[in-house]
């Protein structure tokens, strides 16, 4: 069976995501932390029984929202998008930031911290932005859909469903702008968490903090 909602490889004809993916691989080989390892490590940490708790699910959603919010916010700040794409990034970015705020507030002290991101140029180049945004929104929709039936609290579910459909709207919006069919199939399929995390990891967008502090003696001019 095929996953109808997500066709990264198809959307990625220009190779932007593939490029960052192979780049993440190269960095990993060279001993730097590659890709979504950080994200996956942060999320895979809970014990088997804790995984799948409502709190864990909300944190997983928060991780994806952090990623999306950072992506659109950076694209807007860099100002490389024009016309309808700039408008889409502005509106959708504000939505994703609102989702981040809501999930962080709901989680309180249990909320995971915002990871560091390296979008490797896709926020400052319109064609790369377009491909990545389509993939992100289809991915977000598929991820929420996979988690929704696992949420125990119906009040959390009520909130999550309202975000789920907003992600689907975003997906259709950017697809239409990108000239791809906004609603390709009669049914959107869910995507399991490990697959979502692998897709995120392969992009290399989640990165480690550079080391900018040290303990050595200064040799500045004094």
């Amino acid at each position: 069976m095929r996953i109808g909602a997500l066709r990264l490889s198809e959307l990625d004809r220009g190779g932007a995501v593939e490029e960052t993916a192979s780049r993440a691989g190269a960095l990993t080989r060279r001993g730097l932390l590659g890709g979504g390892a950080v994200l996956a490590a942060g999320l895979a940490a809970p014990a088997a029984e804790a995984q799948g708790s409502d709190e864990d699910i909300l944190n997983y959603a928060l991780a994806l929202e952090y990623l999306q919010a950072a992506f659109y916010t950076e694209a807007e700040r860099l100002g490389a998008l024009r016309g309808a794409f700039a408008e889409q990034a502005r509106v959708v970015g504000a939505h994703e930031r609102a989702h981040v705020t809501a999930l962080r507030d709901a989680l309180g002290g249990a909320a995971i911290r915002r990871p560091r991101f390296d979008f490797g140029g896709v926020t400052e180049d319109q064609p790369a932005f377009r491909r990545t945004a389509v993939a992100f929104e289809d991915l977000g929709t598929a991820a929420y859909k996979d988690q929704a039936p696992r949420i125990r609290s119906r009040a959390y579910l009520a909130a999550a469903l309202r975000i789920h459909s907003v992600e689907a709207r975003h997906a259709a919006w950017i697809r239409r702008l990108a000239g791809v069919v906004p609603a390709p199939d009669a049914f959107d399929e869910p995507l399991p968490r490990r697959r979502v995390l692998r897709v995120v990891a392969d992009t290399g967008f989640v990165t480690s903090a550079p080391r900018t502090s040290a303990f050595g003696s200064p040799r500045f001019t004094g």
């Binding site: 469903l161 459909s165 009669a186």
Partner: protein, 222 residues
């Protein structure tokens, strides 16, 4: 009674090639047909083909197989209206260009949804009323505005009702809900308004959904 993954199998096989993201959805562990269990739980539903209306109304709102059947019957009504709306529009509204493509694709989706829900419900499916579409499909402009409104109402109904479903039924309804959200986004874009007007979508009760449809003359008030 059909098993649930009947829904996904109804996606037209995509002609495009998906290299990386082909999901292996094996015989699901949690995907036992919820309606089969519904049958066991509420034997009366099946044995005599007794109409749902004849059953005592459930006071509790906790998800149950019986409530799943009612809820799916409600969204069946909405899908029926949508399918009819697009079929009429394609005949009468003199559509062209992207608007025609939209009506063709979305109409096909709604027909598939309708058929899938009918298959799922089997003998428990309620019959559909005659819908009076009025002047909603009299010309392309009215069609686009009406399509946006109808998709919004449909989405809010799914978002409102999905919380009342058992997890297995929810998993299936969510596959349709996000497609309705894509339709709403596309329709709004075609009508010249913003595809995603808020960060959190609306969720409507049955009464409110019926009222919204009645106000547009699309459904008779009981």
């Amino acid at each position: 009674m059909r098993r649930f993954h009947a829904l996904s199998q109804r996606n037209a096989e995509p002609a495009r090639v998906t290299v990386e993201l082909v999901a292996e959805v094996g015989p699901g562990t949690s995907r036992t047909g919820f309606l089969e269990r519904a049958v066991v739980a509420g034997g009366a539903l099946v044995s005599g083909g007794v109409l749902l209306a004849g059953l005592p109304r459930l006071a509790a709102s906790a998800p149950s197989p019986e409530q799943d059947v009612k809820t799916l019957n409600f969204v069946l009504l909405i899908e029926g209206l949508q399918a009819r709306f697009y079929a009429e529009a394609l005949r009468r509204a003199q559509l062209s260009g992207e608007t025609r493509e939209f009506a063709g694709r979305v109409g096909e989706h709604e027909r598939v949804h309708l058929g899938a829900l009918r298959d799922l419900l089997g003998r428990d499916a309620r019959s559909l009323p005659e819908f009076d579409l009025g002047d909603t499909v009299s010309d392309p402009r009215r069609f686009r505005a009406s399509a946006a409104a109808i998709e919004e109402i449909g989405l809010a109904a799914y978002n409102g009702q999905a919380t009342n479903l058992t997890p297995d039924a929810l998993a299936e309804a969510a596959k349709i809900a996000s497609v309705e959200a894509r339709h709403a986004s596309w329709a709004r874009g075609l009508a010249g308004s913003t595809p995603a007007p808020r960060a959190s979508d609306l969720a409507a009760s049955e009464d409110r959904s019926r009222e919204s449809l009645a106000r547009r003359g699309l459904l008779e008030r009981p």
